[in-house]
Amino acid sequence: MTTTVADHHHDEVPKGITRWLFTTNHKDIGTLYLWFSFIMFLVGGAMSLVIRAELFQPGLQVVDPHFFNQMTTVHALIMVFGAVMPGFVGFANWMIPMMIGAPDMALPRLNNWSFWLLPPAALLLVISLFVPGGGPASGWTLYPPLTIQGGMGMDFTIFTVHILGMSSILGSINIIATILNMRAPGMTLMKMPLFVWTWLITAFLLLAAIPVLAGAVTMLLTDRHFGTAFFDPAGGGDPALFQHIFWFFGHPEVYILILPAFGVISQVIPTFSRKPLFGYTSMVFASAAIAFLSFIVWAHHMYTVGMPLSGELFFMYATMLIAIPTGVKIFNWLATMWRGSLTFETPMLFAVSVVCLFTMGGLTGLMMSITPADFQYHDTYYIVAHFHYTIFAGSVLSMFAGIYYWLPKWTGHMYDETLGKWHFWLTVIGFNVTFFPQHFLGLAGMPRRIPDYALQFTEFNQISTIGSLVMGFAQLILLVVVVKAIRGGKKASAEVWENPEGLEWSLPSPPPYHTFATAPEVR
């Protein structure tokens, strides 16, 4: 491979606020996405601490129940649509062009717009908490009839979902157009780094799933204001129909959150095992299989709604099938580490913890896929435990792995390894203390989304709240690490790590403003 850097004439970096407002540079836009994601992560995190504070003791202490319900709803919406999705789009923007040897994204101006749709949408959602009647209080799933009845906060939420969806769709179109058309000569599809592959597949999932969500909330809107009755039983509609449509989007959505994470992990583990990724081809096909299956399992979220037996069985077996490609990935990561010369820098620590903890979430998922068993687990804290093991320990910890892995590349400085390790241990311990006891609460029958609970649930809830405080405040360490690395520190070499694979490491750290103006040759 050759290293080609744009000549310095092209490398004047624009200054001031207009740089960020008008930027069409994939690195700038990636940075914007990542900061936006981090801010949303802190805002959503603060809301989760309100939830945990209220649940520290039985009875009502901190907030009133209606506000509590708004917190669970807006926390989830912000984390899913504001923190995790934009976070991975930030990684995509920074890394995909550098990984495939392209000078930028295929549609740089559209890229700018995709990002700048996000802040107003997020603001709209937060403002909804302050309008008469308050914000959405239905849970992030927005089930009618409650969402047909709510106040104008609900309209704000619908509009937010529309705008965020628009941003995701434009971003996905850009990513697909980039990957399919902008690869450097010699970079065949099966030579692409796995992170690029998982994003390509994720982008297709987004394009097929998001318009369905947009359709669902549009129908909610017309039910609310324009006299239709898609979901309103009073007019002959069916609330269960909404659940079907929502989960037709919702299950692919959870794989939208996890596939790019799998991609990051597949970059990090080989580097710190000093071995190539085991089973590259099977990783690509497993990702594609997961993507396909994710469209035929949606009703495992609504086993209790009353479906024909054949339906329950179909969705049960289809859901179980997903464990196969997921297992393939886990075994491939393990095989990559097997007999490697392992070292455990912060990115690797996070990556290994993802392999362990995400697998926990996958196993509880498998339990919940069993229809009769799920009648017990459904709508309890068991579900909350499951999806935090998948989304936090899967997606968010992978993002942390990715941040530590590429931060030296992005900033040109090594991060503070000691602080990184502190961040890792406090996060992972805090996480398990918070969410492991929730399995027991769920099995014992504590319902999710309630501000008060029966006395026998007290101890586990207290443990959980203490864990959440540790985990929450540990995230400020990440802020310190990132700011420190931006400001200075030990200079990072181009390769940063020991013989990492990928075109991004052939560029200096930090890479010049414009890279690969002349495409590199990939052999």
Binding site: A6, T18, M105, A106, L180, L207, L241
Partner: protein, 48 residues
């Protein structure tokens, strides 16, 4: 403004050549049609 950001006289464009440009156009057209179709169908299906 946007154009100036993209670096002065010898415009540093992302696109290398016309073939690539045509490829991007084609990809985008197909995807946009797909998205609009999915959105429309997700609603129209319940009106029929």
């Amino acid at each position: 403004m946007l154009l100036r950001q993209r670096c002065g006289e010898s415009l540093m464009t992302a696109v290398a050549n016309d073939a690539q440009k045509a490829g991007i156009r084609k990809t985008v057209t197909i995807l946009v049609v797909f998205v609009v179709a999915v959105f429309t169908w997700s609603i129209v299906k319940y009106l029929l």
